[in-house]
């Protein structure tokens, strides 16, 4: 009978030892001997831990003290130096009188379990890190659209906390959106994709691409939905800018085609007029050529002006001379459009420091704009444009007034933005933008007073002396800030 149990003892697959009160090992099984060597006359702590004295927290000691079973997790070292994780169980062995004579210590190798636990922990940490740091907004939502988990970017952007409603943090709404991609995913179990505009907690609006996917529990039911949102605001802004560029290119292209056609037509009239010896036709054709060449030149100069940031070339100007020159250039155009164009200059001293070409360009653009406003206005019999110059010793005031079609508030607000043009077939849309840029480079801004159906007055007050480059740069920065 004893021999059978002895056989069992020896064959068990864990490390088995019998220890006396001094923690000397008095018996051990084969697995122990194989891994830890000869035990006779040696202490438990010497063999397992290479220690000179007993461990501070010893389950065998506790069993000797209270007669109960005890367990612990230990890291022990085998004969060949391997570190092994073990779970230790200490059990008392009694004699016939019930006294504890020794303790059986059973140590089970859990090294592989420990390794797997560590791997799992590392894996979980990696997923946690991925969830937290991925550069898009991630939230996990339950069926009531409460956010039960959110990554760092989401928490930072929207102020998300456990249990808050997604529509509150995204959209500042008090009820769910309809339709809702998350609820759709709860219903269908499918991934849903759509574009949204959301509002961050700092008030910033963002275009986001939203994707929702189901998360299943062990029973195969959809427990929650993960929502991933990617910020595509910059893509949308780039699209808008590219659209604007495309728009201006097509507008300029369209206008130049018309002008080239007009010039070509004029050449036709000149050529056929000469063939037929028709003087009137030649004259008319040549007028057409000159007119369209001039318009092509203006368009190209506008484009060049826009393309290049130009530092003003300051010089002292005679304002009356400039106005007379502009008047003589624009008067024939006004007459051809049946517009009454007049000027009034009330100045004691008409000297003025400015960039001559820039001032000329600014005024021509503004007058052209007034002519267009009259041309498209079909409600009145008579149209007039007036340019009025006044000033004192410090500054010059320019006013260009027309009784054309007028501007509503939206038109006034957008009039100086890049590429704005409400005219379908006239102008590049650069004219007012350039005029405003010139005014700013001269330390001024353009003011518009206008009423739809009544007319428009544009005012510019400029210092007589030129602004220094610091102020000029300040204007440029201000303009850049306003640029759409």
């Amino acid at each position: 009978m004893d021999n059978l149990y002895k056989t069992y003892f020896k064959a068990l697959p864990c490390y088995l030892t019998i220890q006396d009160r001094d923690f000397k090992i008095i018996d051990a099984n084969e697995n122990f001997v194989k891994n830890f060597g000869d035990f006779r006359g040696r202490y438990c702590y010497q063999i397992y831990k290479k220690r000179p004295e007993k461990c501070e927290d010893c389950p065998v000691e506790r069993t000797f003290l209270d007669g109960k079973r005890h367990r612990s997790e230990e890291l022990v070292k085998t004969l060949d130096g391997r570190e092994v994780s073990v779970i230790v169980y200490a059990t008392p062995i009694h004699d016939e009188d019930g006294k504890i004579t020794s303790v059986m210590e059973m140590s089970t190798n859990i090294t592989e379990i420990k390794m797997l636990q560590k791997q799992l922990k590392n894996s979980q940490e990696k997923y946690r890190l991925l969830f937290e740091e991925v550069p898009c907004f991630i939230s996990i939502q339950d069926r009531n659209l409460r956010i039960v988990e959110a990554n760092r970017l989401h928490r930072e952007a929207f102020g998300t906390f456990y249990g808050c409603k997604c529509y509150e943090v995204y959209k500042h709404r008090d009820k769910a959106c309809h339709p809702c991609a998350v609820l759709k995913t709860f219903d269908s179990g499918k991934v849903h994709l759509h574009e949204e505009v959301v509002v961050a907690r700092d008030g910033r609006q963002m275009n986001v691409m939203v994707m929702t996917a189901p998360i299943y529990n062990d029973d195969g039911e959809i427990e929650s939905v993960i929502e991933m949102s990617t910020d595509i605001t910059q893509i949308r802004e780039l699209q808008t800018k590219l659209s604007s560029v495309g728009m201006i290119i097509s507008t300029i292209s369209h206008d130049l085609k018309g002008l080239l056609n007009g010039m070509d037509g004029g050449i036709y009239l000149v050529n056929t007029g000469m063939q037929k010896e028709d003087r009137d036709r030649i004259d008319k054709g040549w007028e057409m050529v000159l007119r369209n060449v001039d318009r092509i030149r203006s368009t190209v100069l506008d484009i060049l002006y826009y393309a290049k940031d130009r530092e003003p070339e300051w010089s002292e100007l005679r304002l009356s001379e400039i106005i007379e020159e502009i008047y003589s250039v624009m008067k024939p155009k006004a007459e051809s459009l049946k517009i009454d164009f007049s000027k009034e200059i009330i100045l004691d001293n008409d000297t003025f420091k400015a960039d001559s070409n820039a001032i000329r360009s600014m005024l021509i653009n503004l007058i052209d704009n007034s002519f267009d406003a009259c041309r498209v206005d079909k409600q009145k019999e008579n149209h007039e444009v007036m340019i009025n110059i006044t000033g004192d010793s410090e500054e010059i005031r320019f006013e260009i007034s027309d009784n054309g079609i007028g501007m509503d508030q939206e038109t006034r607000e957008k009039a100086f933005t890049l590429f704005f043009s409400s005219k379908g077939s006239g102008g590049t849309g650069l004219g007012l933008f350039i005029a405003n840029k010139i005014a700013q480079s001269h330390g001024s801004n353009i003011e518009i007073e206008s009423e739809p159906g009544v007319g428009t007055k544009i005012s510019i007050v400029m210092p007589r002396d030129h602004v220094d480059s610091a102020a000029s740069n300040e204007s440029e920065d201000s303009q850049s800030t306003n640029k759409p």
Partner: protein, 126 residues
């Protein structure tokens, strides 16, 4: 009644109207002109024209509206239309695919090739 065919020129730019008028008259056609789509449509209904040349972007009423009006009206539905425009060639494709208008009989991008234009006119109305 003159035996010359009459061409209606619908174009908001005066220079374009002038040279098209001169060009067509030099080649044996009568002409009548309109400054916008609405006026063009009215003249097409009342003036017994053989052909219409039509710009697209005009102030009062665009060429698109004019085409639809012309093609929806029995008196004008059979008058051939030649588009002469500075709008990009994508627009031609748009017109050809549109369900609301039939494609025009001719399409020319500005600046116009005069020989090609004349050839098309002769092809359509002799």
């Amino acid at each position: 009644m003159s035996d010359k065919k009459k061409i209606l020129i619908v174009e908001d730019e005066a220079d374009q109207r002038d040279w098209l008028t001169t060009f067509f008259e030099d080649n044996g056609y009568d002409t009548i002109t309109a400054e916008d789509g609405q006026k063009g449509f009215e003249l097409a209904r009342t003036e017994s024209v053989s052909l219409i040349t039509l710009d697209i972007s005009m102030d009062n009423e665009s060429g698109i509206k004019a085409i639809r009006n012309l093609q929806e009206t029995p008196a004008t539905v059979n008058i051939p239309i030649i588009i002469i425009t500075g709008v990009s060639s994508d627009f031609k494709r748009f017109l050809e695919r549109s369900k609301k208008v039939n494609p025009p009989q001719g399409y020319f991008d500005k600046p116009v090739d005069r020989d090609e234009l004349l050839k098309k006119v002769k092809e359509l109305i002799g």
